[in-house]
């Protein structure tokens, strides 16, 4: 039970907490079709119990549970639980808000009810943690006393980059001395279709703070200390949905709000949100391995709990202590085990479980009243109450379900499968593909191709997600990988390394070239350059303006001179020769100087000639004007005569379509150049090096 040392709290300031008992996503479907996520059993105890216990330890006196989906089930459960007892240290209130579709809606609802008077703890209903919040609360209060603009303290846990518990990955930029969070950068997708390769620290942040730690290793625990102002801010900004991506980002990046958000980074405590099935597996194992101590199966707080509320009487619960033995094997008496049953390690068997001869269990949780037949092999499997596994079931890894049952002989349930309530009575010799999710729908139709001839249930298919708060914009391949229950971080790492490698192969010479743009961005940027020069050409901007715009664009998009040239040259040529007729030379003389700042050294000059030649090769009817263009470029000192000659020597050998014609057109000019060889050439200002270092 929760400790009763309410020493620190003044009578007037009651510590309040809000538990959001909805995850607003479908990661646990079809398991959550009949049961909300917060009531899913984790080591035979509903998830919300861990959260409530965590709050009780923090000396919270009043809890508001906001439920959206399955609110009646949650209500029923809470009413019959120990939290509703007279002896409970917390007053638990339930707020039903069926219309809420996001965290933002929930907080706006709370604001309208004005139930919260002081700073409160905001947690998700799926948090498992043994963190002591009193220290966090104390620092939060101290900060608030010192800085009235403090609205929130986020509790973040140190992890690793590829820690599965990180959820939607994001960078927290924190001032290491003040712990103030100065920027929040969500990362869309580790390697999704958008292929994000760069993020940026805002210039304001760098201008204001001389020391910023950018952290990509923090696990968002879903625990926040909020001031009441947070609710008001949500109401003010009615488009805020997500607490992090909308609220934190919005507050930190907006000039309108002068609010500060702090981050409390914990290193040693256990704190995690059960965000996905993969984490469910992980957290369940952590509970069995006692990382969450004192929240372990044999602890008083959890062992006395009963699943399903009123289903079992509380008197029976007290008579059922959980026995903890070597290798993290827990048995909730009475359990019926055969003499040849092997519970190798990290196994919890619920009350009235019965396991047949020759069965081997490893990293498993078996719910109450489950029956497992002979010679069954289950590893990393989670059977909920009343599940059956009959003879020779090989639960390779990680399936969970209530009253599920791969019931017949010779069934193999491979890794990553989930079987919903009452579903998946696979037939003899049935073997479903990896990562199958089975359910029994309303009409109880069975898909024989999935569950076998005499099976029951059908495959669950995710509905099209078009929600606005959709955070899964990942590539399908990666979504599969991450959402899969049996996924390991090394898979992602390998995947990302492969992606990065592909990217860098495209990105040419990644080591020596300081150009950081990726090719998608370059394509967009190229489009932008085309639009800019076209605008300048069409509207007759001054040369200086056009050059300035292009130059700005070059820096903004991190383009090379070549990138810009490659877009600009065809546009100018098209403008001169296709959009106009006559007076070519004047137009060329007007526009070609745009290139002046983009040509540095001999290579660039040869390159621009190639670009020009390529355009003419594609527009052979205009090829006769190439001489004019070359002349203009020569007159404007854009290209030196040696470069003309060098380029021509190479072009003559080219066999590409159109090139011979192009060469013919320009030959007179080149000959003229060679004859006038004794020209001075000192007026060319370009040199090989264009550096002006102050060394």
């Amino acid at each position: 039970m929760a400790p009763n040392n309410s020493n620190k709290l003044e009578a007037e300031e009651i510590l309040q907490a809000v538990v959001v008992a909805d995850s607003f996503d479908e990661k646990f479907m079809p398991l959550t079709r009949d049961l909300p996520r917060c009531l899913l059993p984790l080591c035979n105890v509903p998830l919300i119990e861990y959260t409530l216990e965590f709050l009780a330890v923090a000396d919270v006196k009043e809890v508001f549970i906001v439920c959206c989906a399955h609110s009646d089930l949650i209500k029923e459960y809470i009413l019959s639980s120990k939290w509703n007892d007279d002896t409970s240290s917390m007053k638990v209130n339930i707020i039903v808000s069926r219309s809420s579709m996001s965290m933002g809606d929930v907080l706006r609802e709370l604001d309208s009810k004005s139930l919260l008077k002081h700073d409160f703890i905001l947690v998700n209903g799926d948090v498992v943690s043994n963190l002591r919040l009193d220290g966090v609360l104390a620092t939060h209060r101290a900060r608030r006393a010192a800085d009235k603009s403090t609205v929130m303290t986020m509790v973040l846990k140190e992890g690793a980059v590829f820690h599965g518990a990180r959820g939607a990955p994001a960078l927290f930029c924190i001032n290491p001395t003040t712990s103030r969070c100065v920027q929040y950068i969500p990362i869309d997708d580790p390697a999704g279709p958008a292929r994000q390769h760069d993020v940026a620290l805002l210039p304001e942040v760098l201008a204001e703070h001389s020391d910023v730690a950018v952290r990509n290793d923090l696990i968002d625990c879903g625990v926040d200390i909020c001031s009441v102002e947070v609710l008001a801010l949500f109401s003010e900004n009615f488009d805020y949905q997500d607490l992090r991506r909308d609220f934190v980002k919005g507050i930190l990046e907006s000039d309108l709000f002068v609010k500060s958000i702090y981050a409390h980074v914990v290193a040693d405590a256990y704190a995690v949100r059960v965000r996905s099935t993969q984490l469910y597996d992980r957290v369940a194992r952590d509970v069995l391995c006692r990382w969450t101590f004192p929240l372990v199966p044999d602890a008083d707080a959890l062992a006395s709990l009963v699943i399903g509320g009123a289903a079992a009487s509380s008197s029976a619960a007290h008579a059922a202590p959980v026995l903890y033995s070597r290798n993290n094997v827990y048995r909730e008496k009475p359990v019926l085990l055969s003499r040849t049953t092997v519970l190798s390690k990290n196994v919890l068997v619920g009350r009235h479980g019965s396991i047949g001869a020759g069965t081997v269990l490893e990293n498993c949780v078996v719910g109450r009243g489950c029956t497992i037949g002979k010679n069954v092999r289950l590893s990393n499997a989670y059977l909920w109450d009343g599940g059956h596994g009959w003879g020779r079931v090989y639960g390779r890894s990680r399936d969970c379900g209530q009253e599920c049952g791969a019931e017949r002989t010779g069934v193999v349930v491979p890794r990553g499968s989930m079987i919903g309530q009452g579903g998946g009575r696979g037939g003899m010799g049935w073997c479903c593909p990896e990562r199958t999710r089975l359910m029994v729908d309303e009409d109880d139709e069975s898909d024989a191709t999935v569950v076998g001839p005499d099976g029951r249930g059908c495959k669950w298919v995710a509905e099209d997600e078009d929600d606005s708060d959709d955070e899964d914009t990942m590539s399908p391949e990666l979504t599969m990988l991450i959402e899969e229950i049996g996924f390991s971080p090394s898979d992602l790492r390998a995947y990302l390394d492969r992606k990065a490698l592909e990217h860098d192969l495209v990105d040419n010479d990644a080591v020596s070239e300081s150009d950081e743009s990726d090719d998608d961005a370059v394509e967009d940027a190229a489009e932008e350059v085309r639009a800019t020069i076209q605008r300048a050409l069409d509207q007759g901007h001054t040369l200086d303006n056009a050059m300035l715009e292009l130059n700005t664009l070059k820096f903004a998009c991190n383009l090379t001179f070549k990138d810009v040239r490659d877009e600009v040259v065809p546009c100018i040529l098209a403008h001169v020769f296709i959009a106009n007729d006559g007076n070519f030379k004047a137009l060329l003389t007007r526009w070609m100087p745009v290139l002046a700042t983009m040509l540095h050294g001999a290579k660039d000059q040869v390159d621009v000639l190639e670009t020009v030649a390529a355009w003419f090769a594609a527009h052979l009817d205009k090829a006769k004007y190439l001489g004019t263009v070359a002349m203009v470029m020569y007159d404007l000192d854009l290209v030196e005569e040696e470069q003309f000659v060098a380029w021509f020597a190479k072009a003559e050998k080219s066999v590409e379509t159109g090139m011979p014609a192009v060469c013919r057109a320009v030959r007179p000019f080149i000959q003229w150049l060679e004859e006038a060889d004794d020209d001075d050439e000192d007026d060319e200002e370009e040199s090989e090096e264009e550096d002006s270092d102050d060394e």
Partner: protein, 486 residues
């Protein structure tokens, strides 16, 4: 001499450190203009001594004997004369074109780099850290490069925003890099660029953040002092790098986290290189492979070894605790003694007064360094041959050079006055630098001014924050602020 005895020798600054070589880059000093009219940057006096003498002294305190000075052609004669005047083993002087950037200049002397490691420093940098400390860190971590930053430099001087990652998060039980001392350098950008209000901010590669999950962004002044593995430098300079700071360092930083593309790229996946018009894919990939090996300082072997180079940043620290934490060298004892212990190397004296080191790359920085070093001059601050009239004041942070005459009732505060100057009566100098042969007439007031050699300031002038170029004559009774006389 065996390899082993060489290593032993490298510990002792008295002996030749044969594994090391030093390159001093003495550019034309455009950003110091007009101070550099007629005098090369390397020979501008700081507290009475040419700037380059400090670099040479620092290098000497590391026991490096093999020194190259790469200088701009235009000042060749003056530098040649200077180098000839040096005693002992003279550094080798290489003259290059004036307009070459640091990288291009360095490329000119690549074939003269014979040793395993090379210290590359700009002539205008005066570090407060012992070279031994830097070299120790460089060797301990088997780094490919170490760059020195003046971490505790005044905020205005900090020109870079650098990203630091912890060296060994597991062993050191730290998730955030320390803001002083040695750390892994994973990002570096010009501060002006990334704090530009309408700009995109500081780009961070996600590749980098995956490899180094916590990156601490701090402001620092680039000391323009690097220790390179010669192999690394050779491969990174390639044939196009123009500037070490802007090209070589970023490329090296990037090589720490960009997965090597050299694994076996299938032809056709590599898009054509912009610069190299007709390059060959296979050769290119091979070269990239070789390059990444060379960066990491490995000899290309069977090609399966994929190692990432270690690039370090050393952030100098200010305050008295700076020298107590430094290892080796004689700075340990000095922390306790006073700054007047002029027998100690300059960097140790700077550290003792809590100075993080600085650059003289701008007139402000130059004036600032003059004052700082004048502080350390101790009893030598007024030359014996100087002629001070009665009732003249020379403040404690000031220096007066040889054969300089100071007239009656004049005061010199926080100023450095060169040799053979003539200062009239009732002159007030505050925060000024007067180079050799300057004439200041009576009743002149100068505040935060730099007066170049042989210039003359007329009677009753009042100048503030101004610079008087060499041989200029400022007419009498001029009043100016923020002015440039040239």
């Amino acid at each position: 001499m065996s390899m082993f005895s060489l290593n032993v020798a490298s510990r002792n600054p008295q002996m030749d450190m044969s594994e090391l070589q030093a390159v001093i880059l003495a550019g034309p000093g455009k950003s110091l203009s007009p101070l550099t009219q007629g005098t090369p940057k390397a020979l501008l006096p700081i507290a009475g001594k040419p700037m380059i003498s400090y670099s040479l002294q620092w290098i000497e305190s590391a026991g490096i004997k093999d020194v190259l000075i790469v200088a701009a052609q235009s000042h060749g004669d003056q530098l040649t004369t200077y180098v000839r005047s040096l005693e002992g083993r003279r550094p080798e002087l290489v003259l290059v074109d004036d307009h070459l950037g640091s990288g291009a200049a360095l490329r000119k002397v690549l074939d003269k780099l014979r040793q395993t490691n090379v210290v590359v420093m700009s002539v205008d940098t005066i570090p407060a850290d012992s070279p031994m400390v830097l070299l120790d860190q460089f060797r301990t971590h088997n780094a490919a490069m170490l760059a020195l930053y003046y971490g505790a430099a005044p905020d205005a001087a900090a020109d870079q925003v650098i990203g630091l990652a912890p060296l060994n998060p597991v062993r050191d039980r730290t998730s955030v890099a320390p803001a002083t001392g040695v750390a892994r350098l994973v990002a570096a950008s010009l501060r002006a660029k990334v704090t530009e209000a309408s700009g995109p901010g500081m780009p961070l590669r996600l590749d980098m953040l995956r490899e180094f999950p916590t990156v601490r962004m701090v402001r620092a002044q680039d000391a323009h002092l690097y220790i390179f593995r010669t192999e690394t430098l050779r491969s990174m300079l390639g044939d196009k790098a123009g500037s070490i700071q802007r090209e070589t360092v970023p490329a090296l930083i990037k090589s720490q986290y960009v997965p090597s593309a050299a694994k076996s790229p299938s032809p056709g996946t590599v898009s054509p290189d912009d610069m190299d018009v007709d390059h060959d894919h296979d050769r290119h990939a091979d070269a990239a492979n070789q390059a990444s090996m060379a960066i990491a300082g490995l000899t290309p072997s069977n090609g399966t070894l994929q190692s990432r180079p270690m690039i370090l940043a050393y952030l100098s620290q200010a305050g008295a605790d700076a020298s107590s934490s430094s290892v080796g060298g004689s700075s340990m004892d000095l922390a306790t003694t006073t700054a007047a212990a002029s027998g100690a190397p300059l960097h140790a004296q700077l550290a003792a007064i809590g100075h993080p080191g600085a650059r003289a790359n701008t007139p402000t920085g130059y004036a600032e360094l003059n004052r700082t070093l004048a502080k350390l001059a101790g009893e030598h601050r007024v030359a014996a041959t100087a002629d001070l009239a009665p009732r003249t004041q020379v403040g404690p942070e000031s220096m007066v050079g040889d054969q300089t005459r100071v007239g009656e009732r004049s005061s010199v505060k926080k100023s450095v006055v060169g040799a053979r100057c003539v200062i009239g009566r009732n002159v007030k100098l505050v925060n000024c630098v007067l180079m050799d042969g300057v004439a200041i007439d009576d009743e002149v007031k100068l505040e935060s001014c730099i007066v170049c050699p042989l210039a003359q300031v007329g009677e009753k002038c009042t100048l503030k924050d101004s610079i008087v170029a060499a041989k200029m004559v400022v007419p009498r009774e001029t009043t100016a602020k923020n002015e440039l006389f040239s």
